[in-house]
């Protein structure tokens, strides 16, 4: 029937002609087997870093924020830089689990579980900074609109920091629920395969008594869709609100209307870079190369080109607007970013965020695991510098030159940052040994093979 149009058959997302059983075996192996040497080494390093970070944090709480490098002019520095960076990193998970779900992007199924876990760990790391960067962290609960005995005292709904409180806590709770919901069928699978009663008991509780009936599945799908619907605006709103911390202020270099889209694009950009960094290692270490294939990597790289370019255009637009507005404070703020004392931070940002991702236009680079890994690291660094540039170089020279100062971090705040990286990896490493890192149940829905092979055989 030569007149019939036959759609081009897409490459399979899962390589290796897996059967359902093979998949279950592959993905449950890290949970059921023993950890290898690499896992233990990584865990030890991450755990040590985390402990060091907590020590620094305890020292800060004991002595005061003065143990950091901030001063009368630069009130926020590494703390909020790290906060925004971590929050940004979380965004890839939400995008993958929510928006890509709604757009029926099946390739997301290989990576969404880890990406969502990453979101949760990143938000935990991020949350530490605003919680502990306050002068009196034991009073942080005053930022919640709690009925109280202090008379008519209430929170200030005009303050972007309060919006942050709501945005981040909503984000965290929705992400956590969504992630855990997705885990239920897989936890049930692990439960069913358990050989020891303790394990079976624990996974039994964790899987909330999942039976795999049609009703279970029906409800599962419905709730997933609802949560995806809830998460989708969060992808845009959380970082928009974080950007309001800066955009609604009057500091030259912060007070910019471009911030919300620019921050969201930047967040997804950095989030995907972190997903790539982690997945490239994880697929190797956990033997999941057939599940997270080059195709996945290439698709993610394409998102990186897109978001990286948006970020690049945003940088250039900011510069243009600084000049075009004719506001001397703003023009100076941007000249100072590029040519002032923190020029190295600005140019690190430009190189890492604008130039390196453009290399992905070459198919060869985009499909090279090594090149992707290196560039993803560059993007992570670049995005950290972006936040540093926005926060520190805008603050350190604002309106009155008499107050212009320099800022440099102390080892305490560097320690806390290193500690959050340790915390993140500790959590992720534990996660990779406790939960299936790939959404097994979901993935099983897409391994159905095409009939092509039979066609060729002429049956």
């Amino acid at each position: 029937m030569s007149g019939n149009h036959e759609a081009v058959v897409r490459d399979p997302l899962i390589l290796g002609k897996k059967t359902y059983h093979q998949m279950t075996e592959d993905i449950c192996r890290p949970v059921e087997g023993k950890a290898n040497k690499y896992w233990w080494i990584s865990f030890f390093i991450a755990f040590a870093a985390m402990l060091w970070g907590f020590t620094c944090l305890a020292y800060t709480i004991g002595n005061g924020i003065g143990t950091w490098g901030a001063n009368k002019t630069v009130g926020w520095a590494w703390d909020i830089t790290n906060f925004v960076w971590w929050i940004g990193i979380g965004h890839a998970g939400t995008l993958i689990s929510a928006i890509l779900l709604l757009f029926r992007q099946r390739w997301r199924m290989s990576i969404n579980r880890s990406a969502e876990a990453m979101t949760i760990f990143a938000v935990i790391c991020a949350g530490l900074f605003p919680l502990f960067h306050t002068g009196r962290p034991w009073l942080d609960y005053w930022m919640l609109p709690l009925p109280n005995q202090f008379g008519s005292l209430w929170v200030n709904f005009n303050s972007p920091l309060l919006w942050d409180v709501f945005a981040i806590s909503t984000y965290f709770s929705v992400s956590l629920v969504f992630w855990y919901l997705g885990l239920l069928p897989d936890l049930a699978t692990v439960r069913d395969r358990c050989v020891t009663p303790t394990k079976r008991f624990i996974y039994g509780i964790l899987s909330f008594g999942w039976k795999g009936t049609a009703r279970d599945w029906h409800r599962f799908e419905e709730v997933s869709l609802v949560l995806a619907g809830l998460s989708t605006p969060l992808v845009l709103s959380v970082h928009t609100i974080v950007s309001f911390d800066f955009a609604t202020s009057i500091v030259p270099g912060w007070h910019t209307t471009i911030f919300p889209p620019y921050f969201v694009a930047g967040a997804i950009f950095s989030g995907f870079a972190m997903v790539l960094t982690l997945m490239i290692v994880a697929r190797k270490v956990l033997n999941l190369e057939e599940y997270i294939s080059l195709q996945h990597i290439e698709l993610m790289n394409k998102i990186i080109i897109l978001t990286g370019s948006i970020v690049g255009i945003a940088y250039i637009t900011e510069f243009f607007m600084a000049w075009y507005s004719g506001v001397q404070y703003e023009s100076y703020a941007f000249m100072n970013r590029a040519f002032g004392p923190y020029w190295w931070a600005y140019w690190s940002m430009m190189t890492c965020n604008v130039i390196t991702p453009q290399l992905f236009w070459f198919k060869k680079i985009r499909t090279s695991v090594m090149a992707t890994f290196i560039i993803s690291i560059f993007v992570n660094i670049g995005m950290w510098f972006e936040r540093f540039v926005i926060i520190v170089t805008s603050l350190h020279r604002d309106f009155l030159p008499s107050s212009w100062v320099m800022y440099s971090p102390t080892y305490i705040e560097v320690g806390i940052f290193v500690g959050t990286i340790g915390l993140f990896f500790t959590c992720f490493l534990i996660f990779s040994r406790v939960f299936p890192v790939i959404a097994l149940a979901e993935l099983k829905t897409i391994i159905k093979k095409t009939g092509n092979q039979y066609k060729k055989k002429g049956i």
Partner: protein
């Protein structure tokens, strides 16, 4: 109840015939039920079973709830015990002392003079503690104004380094033993005819002089020598030679249209700076009615505060000073037809023009000279005499007493001490081992003095080598009188009884003279004789006693100056020493408020340094922070380099008062001692010398500066114009900026404050505001210390200032002009604007919280810890603050200060808030902020509240000017005006309404501050465009 026979019942008594008491009729009747119950303590069993017994276990009636109750109580009790706040004992008055009402301040008139700074005071005391120094407005000398150093002296009272009692040979000893030992020695010395010497700084107290006289009568070999570390001896000598009177004149800067100063920092350190500054400012006030101001020329080497304020400043090296004075003298002499002095090389153009202006302002001009050189002073006398200034701006009849040091006497004493001829030496208000050029040699010669006694309040450099230390009371613990100017007296009364076992120096001397007396009685007796018409109580209450000044007569100059010619050989590099606003001559160096007060010009705290000109630094390859050795003929000092714009090339300068070794924890080993660079030239102490500078270390010594960027970057922050422009247009330099606004299709131009998204705050009865006249502000920093004292501002130390974390609520910004103007800057490299000129113009701008009506800080605080009051104040609620620091980030003026650490009771910040003694200075009306909260200027809200309450009690409205904020109150130049916009004709409205010079800082942001500034006007001809 006593048992009673109930009728019908027979007696029921036991065999011993004692009375029996029954519990009731039942017992009497031996009721069976009663007998059974009698054995139980309670009528019914307590329901204990239900709670703890077996029954409780069986039933579930109450235990769960009770358990929870017990648990709750237990936890609460345990945690309450754990959170117990530290106990601070307050002891209430059992019998309330008369005059003291807890919570209400008492003010006592007093006097401060430490041989260096003079002020007539009102001391604010709370519950018996002096906590704040304010000026006595009755004084015609200081007129209610107080300098930074005198403001800070209240903290020196509570200095932990003070001696607790007298010392004999390094050990504590009771006064009786000391008195006996000293009297014995004195008697022996007097019998042997040994020389007894009292070395003091200037003494202006007539009663003290009388005490010394009495002492000398008893011991006739006594001689009193007055010595000022920073001496004006040459002036006294020159006046003697010129006019036959050995006095310092009293100046009237306010009567001068042209003021010329040669190396004379008269606004900050010279003789009576507060007096001069307020007179000077009078000539600089401009308003709708007054459009003339004085013109100020300054010739100097280092960039002094006075030089920074000059209209025309000429940088000259110390060796050129005499040349310029001669040149000016000759230029004037040629106009006056008088004899000229020797020839001199000087910049003829400047001198010619200056002579022209002086001549046209004859009798309304003033030439002053701060050089301790008799020739220079004689020439200046001659110039003033030719200009007819004696009798108008200079008054020799009502002479000033504030510097009486005689260098010749000092030289003689040093010679005697060197030869070992001095048998007894007393040190009062002076520290020669530290302040003498050859202090170490002097310390050695003291070994040979039989009896050496110091009255210092601490074992300082001199006292520690004395055999006896007999600590004097702090001025605030003493009775005192003073005669700062002939016929003008002020008195001091103790504001607290002596904190330690100290004794007034006068009482000590009287005791040793064999006529022990209470100094109060001694003084009262004197005053009865001196001022018979006035009552003692009235004098003490007012704190001043002033006779009507005789009108000054003009003096004819009769010294020969024709022989004076340039003599000093010019060196390649010349070093000049000067004093800083805070530490001054170093006597109060152990005062953290003064150490942390930024130098008005360099903005550096906690250090001195060698200021070098940018030109020399470029040529010689010195970088900031390099350590160099300054070598003069007799001494060498190692000191780090500071590149100081405005320093005359070829000269370097270094501040005195640092490098103390025995002043106390705060001051010891801070900075470098520059006194060895002072030398004795022609019998006079000379404060400049030829020097050689050798770079010894390439290291980068870091200074703790509160300002690290020095130019305005082409921004209209301090608005400035010339007098000529201002006369043409009172808005000059302050033209209204309009912004294009499009509403619908209509485009209009509006000022920033009319373009707003915000609703106005509703204002109540008051609307507080402040005006700062940049034309009056000289940048001296008195306000900064006053604010520190009033508001319990913590000191943070050098390290923290280096991290830009100073806590001062108000700061004085200082900007240098740059050679690149904004227009050029836009074309060229913006960075060029960051470089100040080599010889810049300087502007000062006090900045504190601007109390914005549309405050950016208020909107961003998540917990509303900063809010707007109904009186226009931006309030900080410390209790509510969690410390996000968002408000500080969003403050365009960067006036918010964060408590990075706990600054009180923290050994890392070992200043006055870390010890119980130092804490006595704290103002009980202002809370000491805890760690982690934001703070800032509150416009002295405690004073506002106090005044409001007083007015309310009296049932009246607050009058304009009824009270003042601490900064405005102390400002010697009245640059700061505080008031209420809601009073229609208030002073602040009069300043704001004409809208001539007044402007809001960063007006374009439309934050609508309640503080406004007034344009600075320079008396220069060149227009702004030129």
């Amino acid at each position: 109840m006593r048992g009673k026979n109930i009728s019908g019942l027979k007696d029921h008594q036991d065999p011993k015939m004692e009375k029996k008491y029954w519990k009731g009729v039942e017992e009497l009747q031996n009721d069976a039920e009663f007998v059974r119950l009698k054995n139980n303590e309670f009528y019914e069993n307590l329901p204990l079973d239900e709670v703890i017994g077996k029954k409780a276990e069986e039933s579930n009636l109450t235990p769960r709830r009770d358990f929870l109750k017990f648990l709750g109580f237990g936890v609460a009790a345990a945690s309450l015990a754990a959170c117990e706040a530290p106990v601070r004992k307050t002891i209430p008055y059992l019998i309330r002392p008369e005059q003291i009402v807890p919570g209400i301040a008492n003010y006592y008139a007093s006097t401060y003079f430490d041989g260096y700074d003079y002020a007539s005071l009102l001391v604010k005391t709370r519950e018996g503690r002096p906590i704040k120094i304010e000026g006595n407005p009755l004084s015609s000398v200081t007129k209610g104004k107080v300098s930074a150093r005198v403001q800070a002296s209240v903290l020196s009272l509570y200095d932990n380094a003070r001696l607790r009692g007298p010392m004999m040979n390094g050990n504590a000893a009771p006064w009786t033993n000391i008195d006996k030992a000293i009297t014995d020695k004195l008697t022996a010395i007097a019998a042997a005819g040994g020389k007894i010497r009292i070395l003091s700084s200037t003494v202006i107290s007539p009663s003290t002089l009388k005490v010394i006289e009495d002492f000398s009568k008893k011991y006739p070999t006594t001689k009193h020598i007055q010595y000022d570390a920073i001496s004006c001896s040459a002036m006294i000598q020159a006046n003697k030679e010129s006019f036959g009177v050995s006095v310092l004149p009293t100046y009237s800067f306010n009567k001068a249209n042209v003021i010329v100063a040669f190396d004379c920092d008269f606004l900050l350190n010279w003789i009576s700076p507060v007096e001069y500054a307020s007179q000077y400012a009078e000539t600089r006030k401009l308003n709708s009615g007054r459009k003339e101001m004085s013109k100020h020329y300054q010739f100097e080497s280092a960039l002094s505060l006075t030089g920074s304020n000059a209209d025309v400043r000429t940088g000259i090296k110390p060796s050129q000073q005499l040349s310029y004075i001669i040149a000016l003298h000759n230029a004037i002499a040629s106009k006056a037809g008088a004899k000229s002095a020797g020839s001199a090389t000087a910049d003829g153009k400047v001198i010619e023009k200056l002579a022209e202006e002086l001549w046209s302002n004859k009798g309304k001009s003033l030439v002053v000279c701060g050089i301790n050189d008799a020739s220079a002073q004689k020439l200046v006398n001659s110039i003033n005499s030719m200009l007819g200034n004696y009798g108008s701006t200079i008054d020799l009849d009502n002479a000033s007493n504030l510097r009486k040091g005689n260098d010749a006497d000092l030289a003689m004493l040093l010679d005697e001490a060197d030869k070992g001829e001095v048998a007894a030496l007393f040190f009062y208000n002076c520290n020669p081992v530290y302040t003498l050029p050859n202090g170490e040699a002097f310390a050695k010669s003291m070994n040979r003095i039989d009896l050496s006694v110091s009255f210092a309040d601490r074992p300082d450099e001199t006292a520690s080598v004395c055999k006896f230390i007999c600590p004097d009371n702090h001025p605030l613990e003493s009775w005192s009188d003073a005669e700062p100017r002939k016929g003008v007296y002020s008195t001091g009364q103790p504001t607290i009884s002596p904190l330690f076992d100290t004794r007034q120096m006068q009482e000590s001397l009287l005791a040793w003279a064999g006529t022990p007396a209470v100094f109060h009685d001694y003084m009262a007796a004197n005053w009865k004789a001196w001022a018979p018409e006035a009552t003692w109580d009235k004098i003490i209450q007012d704190g001043v006693y002033e006779k009507t000044a005789s009108s000054p007569s003009s003096y004819s100059f009769n010294a020969d100056v024709s022989g004076i010619s340039e003599s000093k050989a010019a060196g390649a590099i010349e070093v000049v020493v000067y004093e800083k606003a805070g530490v001054g001559n170093g006597a109060q160096a152990n005062n953290p408020w003064l150490q942390e007060l930024p130098d008005p010009v360099s903005k550096i705290t906690w250090d001195n340094y060698l200021a070098v000109s940018p030109k020399d630094a470029r040529e010689k390859g010195w970088r900031q922070g390099n350590i160099v050795t300054v070598k003069t003929a007799k001494a060498a000092v190692n000191v780090p380099v500071l590149i100081q714009p405005g320093q005359t090339p070829g000269s370097v300068s270094i501040a005195l008062g640092y490098g103390r070794t025995k002043a106390g924890k705060t001051a010891d080993n801070i900075g470098w001692n520059a006194y060895p660079l002072v030398s004795m030239v022609n019998g006079l102490l000379s404060y400049s010398a030829t020097a050689e500078i050798l770079k010894t270390a390439d290291e980068d010594y870091v200074f703790a500066a509160t300002q690290s960027h020095h130019t305005m970057m082409g921004r209209a922050i301090v608005k400035e114009t010339s007098l000529e422009e201002y006369k043409k247009n009172p808005n000059a330099g302050n033209e209204e900026e309009l912004f294009e606004v499009k509403v619908g299709k209509e485009i209009s131009k509006k000022p920033a404050n009319e373009v707003t998204l915000w609703d106005e705050h509703e204002l109540g009865n008051h609307h507080w505001g402040m005006s700062i006249d940049l034309n009056s502000c000289i940048g001296c920093g008195a306000c900064v210390v006053a604010c520190t004292a009033e508001n319990n501002v913590p000191m943070v130390g050098k390290d923290e200032v280096m991290r830009s974390r100073e806590m001062h609520w108000m700061r004085i910004d200082r900007y240098y002009s740059s050679d690149f103007d904004p227009k050029e800057g836009e074309k060229g490299d913006v960075k060029l604007m960051e470089n100040p000129s080599d010889m810049p113009r300087v502007v000062f701008q006090p900045v504190m919280c601007q109390h914005c009506n549309h405050a950016p800080c208020e909107t961003v605080c998540p917990v509303i810890a900063t809010s707007h009051s109904s009186e226009g104040l931006n309030q900080m609620i410390y209790n509510r603050c969690v410390g996000t620091r968002y408000c500080a980030n969003n403050c365009p003026y960067k006036v918010r200060r964060f408590n990075w650490f706990r600054y009180s009771d923290n050994p890392k910040f070992d200043y006055n808030m870390n010890n119980d003694l130092g804490k006595m200075v704290l103002n009980p009306d202002v809370v000491v902020r805890s760690r982690g909260v934001m703070e800032k200027c509150s416009m002295c809200v405690q004073r506002i509240q106090e005044t409001k309450l007083n007015a309310k009690k009296a049932g009246r409205k607050i009058k304009d000017g009824e009270f003042n904020v601490a900064c405005a109150q102390t400002c010697p130049t009245n640059a700061i005006t505080f008031g209420d916009y809601n009073i229609p004709d208030s002073k602040i409205n009069q300043m704001w309404k004409p809208k001539e010079r007044s402007y809001h800082l960063l007006e374009e942001l439309n934050v609508q501050p309640n503080v406004f500034y007034q344009t600075k006007v320079r008396n220069i001809e060149e227009s702004r465009e030129a």
